[in-house]
Structures are given as C-alpha cells and as structure tokens.
Amino acid sequence: MGRPFRDLSERALAFWLLLPAFALLGLVAVYPVVKLFVTSLQDLHLAYGTQGTFVGLENYRRLLEDGRFLNALRVTLLLTLVTVPGAALVGLGLALLANLPFTLKWPVRLGLLLPWAMPLVFAGLIFRWFFESDYGIVNDILRRLGLSPLYWLTDPNLAFWAISATIVWKTSSFVALVLLAGLQTIPREYYEAAQVDGAAPGQIFFRITLPLLLPSLLVALIFRTITALQTFDIPFAMTGGGPGTATETLAMYIRTQSVENLNFGYGSALAVALFVLCMAVTVVYLRYLERSEEA
C-alpha cells in the first residue's frame, strides 16, 4: 500500500484535506446564495409559466413600494428588539440560577434544556392553545381572577406580545446554556478574593461575572439576533400573520410570495433583503467582538 500524501508539501496537503469541506460548503451554501441573487433579478412567476427573463432591479424597485414588505420588516425588527434583550435577560437569570450549587443538578439542567430541544412549531402550537380566547389557559386564569378575557391572538398588540412571550420562553434556554458554559469558565479564586475584600454581591456581579461573561453573551446575542430576524415558525403557528397582516414577519412573507403565490423572482428579492439584513447585523457584532478583544 502506498502513501499518497507522503510526498506532498504541507500547503498542498492542507489544500487536499480542506477541499471536501469547501466543495460541500460551495454546494450547500454558496451555490444556493448565488442562485438566489440571480433569481431575484428575474421575472420568474410560475403562475404565468414565465421562465426567468432578466429584469434587472425591477423586483427590488417593487420592494420599496410594497407596503406589506415594509410592514413585515417593521414587525421583524420589533420582534428582534423585544425578544433578543428579553431572551438575554431571562437567559442570564436562568444561567445564574442553574449555576448555584444544587445537590441535584439534573432536574435544573433538564428544565433548562427542554424548551430548547422542542421544535419551534410545537412551541407555537402549544402557546396558541394557551392564548386561545375560549379554551385557553391564560383567559381561564383571567376569568378565575374575575377579569374579563382578552382576545390575545386577534388583537394586533396583544398578538405581538403573546408571540414575543412565546419566543422568549423558547429561546432563553439557548442563551442560558451558552451563558452557563461561560459562567463555569470563570475561576473560583476571583470570587473568593472578592469576598475576602468584602465586595457586595452586586459589585461581584457587575465587576467580575458580567465582564468575564461578555464574550459568551456576545456569541449568544449574535445567534439569537439572527434567528430573531428569521422568525417564522412561532408566529406562523400562533396567528398565521394575523389579524390581517399585523404579525407577519419577513420570513413569512417570503414564503407567501414564493411557495403560495409561486412568484419566485419577487420572493427571491425579499429573501435577499433578509440575507442582507442578517449580514449587516453579523458584521456589526463581529466588529464589536474584535474591538473588545483588542481592548
């Protein structure tokens, strides 16, 4: 048996070893993205049997005049602004709680993992029943308290908050898991030293825990923000974007245009808009991460 890689220089060896990974990435990431950009410049509407004539930036021009796109963008950004800090705060609380020296660690960890392990659409369906106006548990509690029931899913504001609460419940456990890992890398000596010096718990948290937790928090925030921008399952299962289009996110509108209306050209332009949004957020975070590492 020969050894095919024996005579290769290190550089060439690296090339050959990386090639399969790059080929795979090209196939599943680069090719679809390029194809998406190309389609977004075409008139590809299956309901007309159009075969993709090049129309330049026509789909993007339409984007700017499309009230439903602007509304979906607004809903998506608002959901991100509410649920990312929400999940970060709740997640931080959960992580600190789980980091306490419990004798039985597994029930705490399990409770932490469960929402994260559950498929998004399940969470959406379960919470839809919670918020259902006739049979839901939330209105049942309100009635028992002598309050009048609310129409959670058909009032645009209430629906927004019901969806936000569900997303925070579902995603804060992911944040908590990342932060818990971060907490456990902080050396115990720091805390012991602080206690010896007589630092108050608040001082310990803001001077030791939080600064040392910052890199983990940033990683969690990047992932959480990107998934928040792509929010689809939970509002889709809870309200279908309703009432009207009041809780329709960008990802939902992309699906409506491409899968339901078969307008793949315009749907692709919408998807490119979401892609650009996600890229922009990632770049901002990465810049910040680089700066904080340099400092």
Binding site: Y48, L153, P243
Partner: protein, 420 residues
C-alpha cells in the same frame, strides 16, 4: 453445480417478471378527505387489478396546507406522486404551472364530450381550462346552513330563508337558553380558504361578482364594504356571533357545533357525516341542513367547492394512473363517498339514489344548491386573490381595519393582480 446456476437463473427471471408486472401507484389526499374511506375504495381497485398496488399519502388538514407541500413536490419535479386530489380553485394554477398531465391525451374528443356530459356542469367548467381537460371530479361540494333542529323546534321556528330571519331566531334562542357556551351564527373568519367564501357570499347574494364572464374585474369597493360590514355586524351589532370570529376556521366551528355550541353555521357538506357518525358528537339527530339564506330582495348564494383528481405531470406511470383516475372519478366511487363520507356526488342522478338518500336525507334538496353555487375567481394567480380577500375580512373581524379601509385595500390588491 450447473443445475443450481440454471435454477437460480430461472428463479431470478420469474421474480423479475413478477416485479415488472407489479405497478406501484401513489395518490395524494388531504387529511380532511377521510383516508379511511379512501383506503376501502383503493382496496376494491387493487382486488380487481392484481398487479397494481396503490399507496395513499395523506397531506395537511386544509386546502392551503396541502398545496404548500404539493408546490414543493411539484416545483422540484418529484415523480413520487401519480394522482393528486386538488381543490376546485386549483386547476387553472396547475395548468399554468405545467403540473397536470392533460387528460386529452387519453380521451379522444368524442369520448371526452360524452364523459363530461355525465357530470354537473360546474365541474366541467372548473376542470376544462382554456380547452384542456386538467382533472376529473371526485366529489362536489357547496356551503349550506347547518342548524340545530331541536332548538329551532323548541322556539317554534322554521329553518330561516333570509339572513334577517336567521339573526332574529338566533337572538331569541340565545336569550331564551341563557347558555354562556351557546353561540348564534358561525362562519369562517380566520386566515384560511374558507374565509374567502365568507367574503364572497354577501357579494354574490347581492347579485355581484368579482369578475364578469370575460374575466374582467368588476368588484366595486361598495359591494366589498357591504360584505365586510355584514359579517362585522353579526358580532358587534346583532351579537349573534362571538367577538372572536377572526380566530375561527371551518373545522373549529364544525367541532364546536358537534359539542352543541352553535345554533347556525355555514359549513361545507362534509360536516354532516361527522355530526351524525362521530362517537363524540353531542348533536346526533339534532342537526338540520338548508340552503344558504338570502338577503331581503337578493338571491340565495352558496360557495362552490369540490375536489378533483389530476395526474402529476412528473408521474412515471401515467397510463396506469389514468386507469385509476377514471375509476376514482366514476359513479361507483362517488356513491361510496356519498354514503360513507357525506361527500356530495358530481353525478346528478346520484342525488336520487335510495342508498345515498338513506345515509343523507338532506341530499334530496341539495342538487339545486350545488347547481346554483358560485365559483370563486378562476385565475392562475388565485392564491394571491384569495390572500387579499381573506386577510381583508380577517382584519375587519379583528377590528384592526374598518370595512371602508379593508374594502379599498381589497379592490386595490385585486386591481394589481388583474392588471398585469
């Protein structure tokens, strides 16, 4: 040794011949289309056609959910499905997208004309798109007014023929019963296909329509506004519908009526079999069915439904699939579906069939309703048209838009679609 080889060869040949004779077909139906009954029907077909095996793939519970899945399968030219059961609103879209195998390839003109004559004319109109036969009907459907026979009798009411009567009866019964779990008039209001029918019913009943015979948009803002206002008034003015109608899908109302929570409901025919036969039905024998009410001075209008069999353009067994399609769209299957699933037949003579009438006494009066039911707009961009209408009505029912605002947006939305 040589004998063994020869023996194995002979066995191999025999096996592959048997394999070649065995055809595997796959049909797609929705979750609400009674897969249990469909299995019985296909078992009969398999018995009569040894060598053909038919598998059922069951899709989502609503027409729109099924189509979402089918769009993925069909745009990727997946050959795994041979026959697909599609909603009456889809043939134009299937033709435009090239997803349906034109049936004219198997039916010479004379045979085609003779066959189509047997069906109710509405289904011929729906399935022939620009001269091409895209699909053949499995069963017909239309909206009816389902009502609580026992409650109407208790208060001495006859089944209502106008909406005013229905509203008044509902008010009297609600007042008399004082049951917080009882509601008056149920209709579809969430974001789903049934809500399109809700939006169109008052427009048709007033003599209007979305397009004229040439397919030109004629819907006025005023007619649209009056329709939206009517449904809103049922909640806010007459208080015969609960304030959360924007949450209600057709099957939600069907289930609630089954628990005894509605006096009236506008539903499609399938509900009957559930009310009569489901083990958990609290309203067995207490439900009556009548034609949809009129408006004072208007006409009775119902929304035409129904499901069609089409051959996937990407099927690899089109000839075999065609044989199965002819069986499934024939009178024998229509009768089984009528008896076991209360599906209205697409053959007029089955409405007089004694076995069918025994299972569904109300079918005796159903034929004129199906004959006069109105079709939703036929257009390759129907999904967009539907979305504009159902989101408009849904927003009004959720009180996020006034009927004026929503009517304006609906007509504008339709103009962009029809204007292209």
């Amino acid at each position: 040794m040589r004998k063994v080889w020869l023996g194995m060869l002979a066995l191999g040949l025999a096996l592959s011949a048997a394999w070649a004779q065995q055809t595997q077909l796959r049909v797609f139906i929705g979750g609400q289309q009674r897969p249990d009954v469909m299995r019985k029907i296909l078992d009969i077909y398999e018995q009569r056609n040894p060598g053909v095996k038919v598998e059922i793939e069951v899709g989502g519970a609503t027409s729109d959910q099924q189509q979402q899945y089918l769009t993925t399968v069909l745009t990727s030219r997946d050959p795994s499905l041979d026959l697909i059961l599609i909603d009456i609103i889809r043939p134009a879209q299937y033709k435009a997208a090239g997803w349906a195998e034109p049936l004219d390839r198997y039916l010479p003109k004379a045979a085609r004309d003779a066959l189509l004559k047997q069906y109710l004319p509405a289904y011929v109109r729906a399935n022939v798109v620009d001269g091409t036969l895209v699909a053949l009907p499995a069963f017909a459907d239309a909206q009816f007014l389902f009502y609580r026979k026992d409650l109407l009798e208790k208060y001495g009411f006859k089944p209502p023929t106008t909406w005013d009567q229905a509203i008044r009866q509902a008010q009297v019964i609600l007042q008399g019963e004082k049951d917080p779990n009882l509601n008056g008039i149920g209709f579809m209001g969430n974001i789903s296909e049934g809500t399109v029918c809700s939006f169109l019913l008052p427009i048709w009943a007033a003599g209007g329509d979305v397009t004229d015979d040439q397919g030109r948009l004629i819907l006025t803002e005023d007619l649209a506004r009056r329709s939206l206002q009517f449904w809103l008034d049922l909640m806010d003015k007459y208080r015969v519908s609960p304030p959360n109608m924007a949450e209600k899908a057709q099957d939600t109302i069907r289930r609630e009526m089954q628990q005894g929570r509605w006096i009236f409901a506008t539903l499609f025919a399938y509900a009957w079999a559930h009310f009569q036969n489901d083990p958990d039905s609290a309203v067995k024998g207490k439900i009556g069915v009548t034609t949809m009410p009129k408006f004072e001075g208007g006409r009775s209008a119902s929304c035409l439904g129904g499901w069609q069999w089409t051959i996937s353009a990407f099927s690899r067994n089109k000839a075999q699939a065609y044989q199965l399609l002819r069986y499934l769209s024939g009178p024998e299957v229509a009768k089984i579906l009528a008896i076991e699933a209360s599906n209205l037949p697409a053959f007029p003579e089955l409405y007089k069939d004694p076995d069918v009438l025994k299972a569904n006494p109300w079918f005796a009066d159903a034929l004129p309703v199906v004959l006069n039911a109105r079709a939703r707009p036929v257009h390759p961009r129907y999904p967009e048209i539907a979305d504009v209408m159902r989101r408009g009505l849904n927003a009004v029912l959720a009180r996020t838009k006034t009927p004026e605002q929503a009517a304006k947006e609906i007509v504008q939305g339709l103009r962009t679609i029809y204007g292209r």
